[in-house]
Amino acid sequence: MKKLFFALTTLAVLALMGWGYYQAIYVAPTEATMGDVQRIFYYHVPNAMLSYLFFVINFVASLLFLLWRREDPGRAQAADAWALAGAEVGVVFCTVVLITGPLWGRPVWGIWWTWDARLTTTLVLWLIYVSYLLTRRFAAGAQMQTLAAVLSVFGFFDIPFNYLANRLWRTQHPAPVFGGGPDSGIKDPHMLAAFGWNVLAWAMWGLLVLGVRVYVERRQQGIDGAAAQAALAGD
């Protein structure tokens, strides 16, 4: 039953991503000045928005872990699994952003990379969460979970700066498409639809991977816990 549900969900998500691809590449009209290269936008922006979602999941789960680690260790373990999965999926989304950005920048700006506020804070965001994942590898046990949760609180401080970077400063990175002022927003309905489908498809894909990661991590915690119990019992 569980396997059937998983298989059906995966199929549905893949179909949705295929539909999103179709919308972005074939249905949405070609942009007037940039041409076809603008279609990267349908991947770059949804991934950037969703990377925030997963880093927020990591942050909230880390706070809950710190809150529960003494009173309610069982729930704290669940929160830790969510924090780990959130950071992992967030890093994947952020990587997609950092790869698609230069691919678009090269033809449109003529350069792969520039050190403006938006690009720099995005790279810092990626570096911080990679260091978070490294910390989790380098330390062990409950101590590692606490230290990682503390690091997550620090890492989260970059997100408001990243969000505000092209709102506060005049950056080479384009001005915000949504929530940037009276002139922002997508005017063409086909473009908006392609964008919306891709946000939905990538969100479903990310949440599916997140769910699988949480499930696997919970199983791993169960195995580790049983092994620790067995060692204590002297078997």
């Binding site: 810092v124 910390t135 230290l147």
Partner: protein
């Protein structure tokens, strides 16, 4: 009345931790000597690697100074806590009913003093090696350098305490500290560059203000979270 007494207790606690750290450093001079020599080597290495002219010197000197300080202090920040791990001093400190934040603040103050001494000695050598003729308002350096050093030392002390609990303690500190310190490094390098080249690109001192804001935010969060790191098991 009670809160006044508590706060004076807290200050006393910070001062006694600080006195201990300064006394140890005064007797051994481990941190300052190793940092000084290390930073000197970095300055010499960069000077040879790039062989800069007077103009490029002004452009890159801020960056070299910051990176030299960064590398030098990372090498000694680990030692500040490793010393407490020997003979289980850290465990003893954890068992005392005192506040972890006081211990943290004292360590930051001590390390800040050590790194500042290193910069003070290194500064003139730096000006000689790089043939610097600053064109801007040099007195602002007295504001920028301490702010940047504080950002480095406060975060560095915090993350050294965090990484000392892991298996590869020496390796982990730079991996965590560098990404988090990046915004402060950027602000420090850009403001030093503006001062040295005198190009007036930052008339409202935005970068210095950002650096000050960074110091306030990160020091506050570190003070709040330090107890959790100290008691992590």
């Amino acid at each position: 009345m009670e809160s006044a007494q508590n706060s004076s207790n807290w200050t006393g606690l910070v001062l006694s931790h600080l006195r201990k750290d300064l006394q140890i450093e005064w007797r051994s001079r481990e941190a300052i000597n190793s940092m000084l020599f290390f930073a000197l080597l970095v300055v010499v290495l960069f000077s040879m690697a790039f062989d800069p002219t007077a103009d490029t010197s002004r452009e890159i000197a801020g960056g070299v100074l910051c990176v030299a300080t960064l590398f030098a202090s990372v090498s000694s920040l680990n030692q500040a806590w490793a010393r407490e791990i020997r003979h289980q001093v850290l465990d003893a400190l954890r068992m005392t009913p005192s506040d972890g934040a006081a211990l943290f603040l004292a360590k930051v103050l001590a390390n800040f003093l050590f790194v500042s001494i290193v910069q003070f000695v290194l500064g003139p050598i730096f000006f000689v090696f790089y043939n610097l003729h600053p064109l801007g308002n040099v007195w602002l350096l007295l504001l920028v350098v301490p702010f940047g050093t504080w950002a480095l030392v406060a975060n560095g002390t915090f993350f050294a305490a965090l990484s000392i609990r892991s298996r590869n303690r020496e390796l982990l500190l730079p991996l965590i500290l560098f990404p988090i310190f990046l915004p402060a490094l950027l602000a420090m390098v850009l403001s030093v560059k503006t001062i040295l080249t005198g190009d007036n690109s930052d008339p409202s001192l935005l970068w210095i203000k950002l650096l000050a804001g960074y110091d306030i935010i990160f020091t506050t969060v570190s003070l709040i979270l330090f107890d959790i790191v100290l008691e992590a098991e």
